[in-house]
């Protein structure tokens, strides 16, 4: 079964690659905020965003590679990626992460 072809490539695959670029650009924008700040919560937010976009990029990569092997990594980021945000925020709030 063949799907829609664009420029000789399946549309869906082309779309995946295109979305990967968009997500890549999104990551760069996250990086901009991470490096630029200006405030500390901004940087934390940027790191959080980077994590979330990384999940998307991973899943897209999995689709692109037609492999389910990236599932575990994505799962772990989704499940535990917020830990960084939590500890950093907690540190900002109390200057101590475990009280």
């Amino acid at each position: 079964m063949t799907g829609i072809q664009v420029f000789g490539y399946p549309l869906i695959d082309t779309t995946i690659v295109a979305v990967m670029y968009v997500v890549g650009v999104a990551m760069l924008m996250g990086l901009y905020r991470l490096l630029r700040g200006p405030t500390l919560p901004d940087r934390i937010l940027a790191l959080d965003t980077l994590n979330v976009t990384a999940i998307a990029e991973l899943m897209l990569l999995g689709m692109h590679m037609r492999s389910a092997i990236y599932f575990e990594a994505a799962l772990v980021i989704a499940m535990l990626g917020f830990v960084g945000t939590v500890v950093l925020s907690k540190f900002v709030i109390r200057r101590d992460i475990v009280e």
Partner: protein, 945 residues
């Protein structure tokens, strides 16, 4: 028998050193036993030696080194052994009465016997290396003896000085002996002595000779190393009498005699040895005149006599050797008795200062008589033994062949030696026994105990006997000794008292007259008592040693100032140098190649550059912002994420997972640590330093990049293919990375979890009892976070499930014990963060330490099970169970090992995090550091300015 002679003193020394202080009498008896039995045994060997036989005793020790317990008793050794034992015996008797109540007698005798044994070892050694061994032992034991009264600064200093010089000489001797052994091909004395021509012809000869002579000159107190001897006089007098007249200082000249066949015979030998000997002779004799201390005078006189002996051996003629050996014996007898007399005087009057002594002949007539006779022997007065050897010396000095200048020099030295010798002997006698009575002494002097005087008497009798009946008394002994050195080339010599009126006799008479004139002339011309002598040698030595110490301190403190920055800098520089050297040496090769490799690159994957920007941007921003630590930590998170994503993109899901999890834990660690550290780094003042470090970092970075690139683009051949192929059929795992971790390279993982567990233990050990205080604290109670807490609570059981999932699947899909362990630990950490440590630990009490221990044991158990099947550690087993209902269940024994990993990782992580999170506060420090003004916190840095 020979071995016994050598062994007895050592054994007895050991016994004595272990004896308690109160066993004075017993110790003296035991100490006396050594020389007595030694002499008896030696007497047993005497006939054989006299017949010219060389008694040998060979026992292997370190054949690889050529070092053997090889003993060799020829005439020379026999003479010296007899000397050492006989005088040693007398010294023991003397010391028994000399030592005071407060002196540790067993220890003294212990050291003394140690020394005696070492001396016997030197003289009977049949192997050059063995000789070195005993040589250094004499240095060490004499160090102990000189420092016997260690409470006294001068004793310590004298001992140190003696050891520094003589042990240093010993090291030179080691070098010399090794060289000789190398030239000859053996260290056995027989071989070495037989190889004289070979040695002289060797290009190494000058060096070997120099090294040996260094040892000789230091040991025998030759100029310019002579100065240690007077300072060694801080030792108890028996020590001086023994070591510094009869025994140790003679070891040097003994060595000259010993190696005479091997080393003598070159111009170099002649000029150096006789030159140094002559100089020493004059320096010692001249200085002796101006000493005020009895022992000082005797010490300088000893230096002078040793110079004489050295000079004789330097001359190298057979007759000179005879004279030298003869003088060794004579000097030993009169000088030992004089030292003992000096000791008696010191003992009875409490002083050895000739300026305070005088008129003692009235108080201790016998001692006085003995001492006067011995002094006359020292002065070389006829009918005493000193005269005979002196005359032989004069005769030799006059008959030097070779350079005329040398003949004149030696002859004049000989004459002056006679003059000075008479002068200082006269001073000794006159200042001590004649004139006005002793001044300012504590007690009325009287004769010492009979047995203390006995050794002196024996020796003085010997002086007389030799002086009057030389052929009868000393003839055989000397003859035996001379044959020991010269073999069959013994010259014709006569030991008569009267040789008729000849030049030597006239020189002697001139010397006597000149000496008397000199002494009284000096007394008249300048007040001898007011002359203050300084030892230039000692001064120079101290200056040099101090300079050495100062140099050492300066060097060390400048270089090793304990700075960690410097330490790391050197490491980086060494690494850069090591990596750069081959690249630069391989010159354009690699770089040129790089160009072609670059050209061969296709279009870069654009997404790779996104990651690159993420990585490089975060890394550089961390660098730029490092002074604001919290910001740097946040930014560093970007780099960590980039690394994880790189792993994912490049086909390494396991790595990505691990990196992500470790990243989170590291972030938590950094923040936990930051709580107790200043929030920012102070600005750096030195631009130069920053530029330097930046330059080094740049070079290092560029270098590693270059290496990495070159590596990635070069072809190679790896064993990985075989691992891939054998992973599934033989290790029953589809996730090859995990299979490597638990099977192929399970031992690495085994070490790795050990490291991990130990890290937990170390952190626990460091923080368990620590009382810490945060930099500054937030005011107010902990903030409750009910909403996140509630959400995290829902997450927790689910994360547990994921953890188990990752563990079970790890062998066939990304996951495994390590990842699963962290997946269990991280959510628990979140609980700590959100709920607070106390809240969690009160409900969820875990002994993380035992968790680590249990994990290690489980892992080991998993690895050891294969022993049952006769296969090595960590061999994986596999079983496919077919259970009803459930069906096919694959079981790999590697799972047990992985379970151990799981436990260690979980336990270790939680141990670290919980310890860091639950530190006990130090009230004192907290009060000191205070609170944060929450209104003044900067949103940019999070710090309160």
């Amino acid at each position: 028998m020979l071995e016994a002679i050598l062994a007895i003193p050592f054994v007895l020394a050991l016994v004595l050193l272990l004896m308690p202080e109160r066993a004075r009498r017993l110790s003296a008896w035991l100490a006396g036993l050594a020389p007595l039995t030694g002499l008896a045994l030696l007497a047993g060997l005497t006939p054989r030696v006299m017949e010219g036989e060389v008694v040998r005793n060979l026992r292997p020790w370190v054949p690889e080194l050529g070092l053997a317990l090889s003993l060799r008793l020829d005439g020379l050794a026999w003479m010296f052994a007899g000397l050492v034992l006989a005088i040693g015996g007398l010294i023991v008797l003397y010391a028994r009465y000399y030592l005071g109540e407060r002196d540790h007698m067993p220890r003294f005798f212990g050291y003394l016997l140690l020394f005696m044994g070492a001396m016997l070892g030197v003289v009977t050694a049949g192997n050059l290396l063995l000789l070195v061994v005993f040589w250094e032992l004499t240095s060490i034991s004499s160090f102990l003896l000189i420092g016997f009264w260690f409470q006294r600064e001068d004793a310590r200093e004298g001992a140190r000085m003696a050891l520094t010089l003589t042990a240093g000489g010993g090291l030179a001797l080691l070098g010399g002996a090794l060289l000789l052994g190398r030239i000859v091909g053996s260290f056995e004395l027989d071989a070495v002595l037989a190889a004289g021509p070979q040695i002289l012809a060797s290009p190494w000869y000058p060096l070997a000779l120099g090294l040996v002579l260094l040892a000789v000159f230091t040991k025998s107190a030759q100029f310019p190393f002579h100065f240690w001897l007077p300072h060694a006089m801080a030792a108890p007098t028996p020590v001086s009498a023994y070591l510094h007249s009869a025994a140790m200082v003679k070891v040097g000249v003994f060595l000259l005699a010993r190696l005479h066949p091997a080393l003598a015979g070159s111009e170099l030998f002649f000029y150096v040895v006789s030159g140094v000997g002559a100089t020493t002779l004059l320096v010692g004799a001249w200085n002796a005149i101006f000493q005020h201390d009895l022992k000082g005078l005797l010490a300088y006189s000893t230096i002078s006599h040793l110079g004489l002996i050295t000079l004789l051996f330097g001359l190298g003629t057979p007759m000179a050797v005879v004279a030298g050996l003869f003088h060794i014996l004579n000097h030993a007898t009169f000088k030992a008795s004089l030292f003992m007399a000096a000791g008696i005087i010191d003992h009875e009057t409490g002083t050895r200062d000739m300026r305070r002594l005088g008129g003692l002949r009235r108080h201790m007539p016998t001692t006085a008589a003995l001492a006067i006779i011995a002094s006359l022997a020292m002065a070389g007065i006829p009918l005493l033994n000193g005269f005979l050897s002196k005359e032989m010396f004069f005769a030799e000095a006059l008959s030097i062949e070779g350079h005329a200048g040398m003949r004149w020099f030696v002859s004049i030295a000989a004459l002056l030696y006679g003059v000075f010798g008479v002068a200082y002997s006269l001073r000794f006698v006159h200042d001590t026994f004649f004139g006005k009575g002793p001044r300012a002494v504590e007690r009325e002097p009287h004769e010492p105990p009979r047995f203390m005087r006995l050794p002196v008497a024996v020796l003085v009798l010997l002086c007389l006997a030799v002086g009057m009946l030389p052929q009868w008394s000393i003839g055989p002994t000397l003859d035996t000794a001379v044959r020991g050195v010269l073999g069959e080339a013994v010259p014709q010599y006569s030991l008569a008292v009267w040789h008729g009126i000849n030049t030597p006799l006239l020189m002697s008479l001139a010397g006597i007259v000149g000496g008397i004139c000199l002494y009284f002339g000096l007394r008249r011309l300048l007040d001898l008592h007011a002359v203050v002598t300084r030892s230039l040698g000692r001064h120079l030595f101290m200056v040099n040693i101090e300079a050495l110490f100062r140099l050492a301190r300066r060097f060390t403190h400048t270089l090793a100032n304990g700075s960690m920055q410097r330490s790391l800098l050197w490491l980086v520089l060494a690494a850069v140098a090591a990596a750069a050297a081959p690249l630069l040496a391989g010159e354009a090769g690699l770089l040129g190649d790089l160009g072609t490799r670059l050209a061969g690159q296709g279009a870069m994957d654009r997404l790779a550059w996104v990651l690159w920007i993420l990585l490089v941007g975060s890394a550089l921003a961390t660098l730029a912002l490092y002074r604001h630590r919290l910001i740097a930590v946040v930014v560093l998170g970007g780099a960590g994420l980039a690394v994880s994503l790189t792993f994912v993109a490049l086909s390494a899901p396991d790595l990505a997972l691990t990196q992500l999890l470790v990243e989170m834990v590291t972030l938590s660690l950094l923040l936990l640590g930051l709580h107790y550290l200043p929030q920012r780094s102070p600005p750096e003042r030195s631009l130069a330093r920053r530029l330097r470090d930046g330059g080094i970092a740049l070079v290092a970075g560029a270098g590693v990049a270059l290496l990495a690139y070159a590596m990635m683009t070069s072809p190679r051949d790896t064993i990985a293919g075989e691992i891939l192929a054998r992973s599934l059929p033989e290790a029953w795992g589809a996730n090859v990375v995990n299979v490597i971790l638990v099977d192929f390279r399970g031992f690495d993982t085994f070490g790795e979890i050990t490291v991990y567990g130990i890290a937990g233990l170390v952190v626990h050990a460091l923080l368990r009892r620590a009382r810490m205080a945060p930099e500054k604290r937030m005011p107010g109670p902990p903030v409750p976070l009910p909403v996140p807490a509630d959400l995290a609570q829902i997450m927790f059981p689910l994360t547990l499930v994921v953890s188990i999932f990752l563990f079970l699947r790890g062998h066939n899909a990304p996951g495994g014990g390590f990842i699963a362990g962290l997946t269990l630990a991280v959510p628990l950490l979140v609980q700590y963060v959100i709920q607070g440590a106390q809240s969690v630990e009160s409900r969820f009490g875990f002994d993380y330490v035992r968790c680590v221990g249990a994990g290690l044991l489980v892992a080991i158990a998993g690895g050891v099970v294969p022993f049952v099947f006769g296969t090595p550690f960590l061999t994986s087993g596999h079983a496919d169970l077919h259970l009803p209902l459930i069906g096919h269940v694959p079981l790999a024994s590697a799972m047990v090992f992985d379970a151990g990993v799981y436990l260690v990782v979980f336990g270790g992580t939680m141990l670290i995090l919980s310890m860091m999170g639950t530190l006990k506060p130090s009230r004192k420090l907290i009060a000191h550091r205070g609170y944060i003004d929450t209104r003044r916190r900067s949103p940019i840095t999070g710090e309160a300015d």
